[in-house]
Subunit: 415 residues, 2 copies
Amino acid sequence: MGHVTSVSPFAPKALPDVPEIPGVRFATAEAGIRYKGRTDLLVTVLDPGTVVAGVLTQSKTRSAPVEWCAEGLKSGKARALIVNSGNANAFTGKRGREAVEITAQAAAKAAGCSPAEVFIASTGVIGEPMDAGKFAHLLDQLAKDAVPGGFAAAARAIMTTDTFPKLATRSAEIGGVEVTLNGFCKGAGMIAPDMATMLCFLFTDAAIEQPALQALIAQEADRSFNCVTIDGDTSTSDTLLAFATGAAEARGAPRIADAADPRLASFRAALGDLMRELAILVAKDGEGITKFVTIDVEGAESDRAARTIGLAIANSPLVKTAIAGEDPNWGRIVMAVGKSGEAADRDTLSIWFGDFLVADKGERAPGYEESVVAKYMKGSDIVIRVDVGVGSGRNRVWTCDLTHGYIDINADYRS
Amino acid sequence: MGHVTSVSPFAPKALPDVPEIPGVRFATAEAGIRYKGRTDLLVTVLDPGTVVAGVLTQSKTRSAPVEWCAEGLKSGKARALIVNSGNANAFTGKRGREAVEITAQAAAKAAGCSPAEVFIASTGVIGEPMDAGKFAHLLDQLAKDAVPGGFAAAARAIMTTDTFPKLATRSAEIGGVEVTLNGFCKGAGMIAPDMATMLCFLFTDAAIEQPALQALIAQEADRSFNCVTIDGDTSTSDTLLAFATGAAEARGAPRIADAADPRLASFRAALGDLMRELAILVAKDGEGITKFVTIDVEGAESDRAARTIGLAIANSPLVKTAIAGEDPNWGRIVMAVGKSGEAADRDTLSIWFGDFLVADKGERAPGYEESVVAKYMKGSDIVIRVDVGVGSGRNRVWTCDLTHGYIDINADYRS
């Protein structure tokens, strides 16, 4: 990247300390795939018995690694995860598929498993042929070097235009035994909700059978990553994978087969919370961000309608530029609600910026004082609340503003 | 508007000379609704017998004037059209409806017709209460002063952030008699295809009955205004109205009752051509435009699918910023095709920038030379062609790039 990118003002001050997950080992390397002087290759070795669940982009032009993961999810068993940054291996035709196969075979040999148990994700430029020869020969030694922990280094190795690594941890109990959940993700542009957005990898030592893990992940993705948008553009490579090593079983944790098992209550809450934290970190690293925006929609026809309305607001260039300009231009919120396609009624619609009611049941709020609300807009965390007034559906969506920085970054990303 | 807006580099060098339309008279005034030192009020007086057809925004939060026009279109008779700029009278509640009624009554008195024969359109800021008292008292004198011709002044009076007036003319023959079609429109932001986009007014002396005119307008809107996007944001106020005075009947033109009448062939072609010219003028005045972009999609499942794919490309912030940056980043076109939701197959997809094949059936074209295509991207008219390779549907879409200028304009439109 030719441009200078400063770190997002919403970057956490420090990375969290995350504990090891028994059965998960990492190694990273500088393979020089595109970037120089930074890690761009992540090798993850997973103990035998690890199950994997995932959600993948719904794009019709999805990348070769995404197609590979879709195949692998059918068996649901994982022994290795290989991630590279700098090249998405997307729209690379037959050579793209070959690069994936070469990678899987090399990783399988290194981890002592079958290629079908290797998961692969690639992120970076679309359409550049991917030369797996650049890193396939490194996998054997990296698998040997892989050590428990190392989550922070792993989160760094998968970054592209991200300005900070995104890492989080939670603990939960299953049957009275504590289990750990760690996750990291990346994403800064081409971020829009169509299943799992961007790359996200979750790890736990809980013993959960694959169908149950898949159900949990799908439900929670809908309430986290699928509620985040930077620019409405859906990547060819979006991949969310969750690996459960089952190592907690040795410490007495029960093995859970059913997502509805009440013993999963703590785990489910921790998982959802972890995924929301990671999703919010993605929004907080939106390209060119100066304002972090939370949009609460209530009174919609359904929860799903509330999300659609929230995303129509969050994806509107006019709303996003108004926020960048610190302009409490609530008329643009009205516009976005109107264009969302969901049930709405102008005369029941109310809008708040922060605690300030600006529009009340179809017209400007009687007590509205623009100067007061304009002051609120100068803050860096903006909350927009919309009551559609036609039902009881609600949802929350996260996004950022649209600034000169976004244009700077994306007008010359490849140069 | 506090910012300095320079005229779009795509503004026509001169406005076309447009002939009078018998039965149509205009007057404009500086009513000071929001702007100072420019006209912001248009009064149009139409001869008895004029029929009107139209298409209106599908927004769920549509403005009071749009609701008024929807009512008026049921009878399909028009004697006056009142347009103001500076205030959209949208999301203005009961007072908004009252302002429309006051305007209609004053205009009806001035034109000697019933309020139901008065059509009203308002454009500008959303959510500001509209004071019809600012101009209702002017309507009587303006109706008296209205003169044939004056199309250029009319086109100027309805501008908001437009940097140039948008006016076009065509002629056609019906039953061997020449008829005239004139039109003008406005729109520069909050432009996206959901029925008629922005304000557009068409006038003809042809004698066409209302249902036939309505059918023609709806069909041609789908191939013109509904194929233009600036920012994907759909206005609360989009209004396209077509007025046919029937004055050509006195010169021997037949009165046409059926849109499928073969005698309408010339008229239909001229109407479509006129509407496309006006729609393209809207794209050429997109806020902050530096590149005018034509997107040709072929090989889609249907013509409608081709338009959806074209609009997914045209609305993608990543595609638009790449074009602004003169970057032939065709990977983002791949991404946009993939996210459109329409049938597509990565391995049959081919993409051209101008005459340069950049992606060929699922991977980078063998002869692709980035430096050559980068030179093409430095031009001001960019043509992107996409062959989806799954069917025979085709469509064309027009848009502009996304630049710092768009952000400048929209971060402080109201200040």
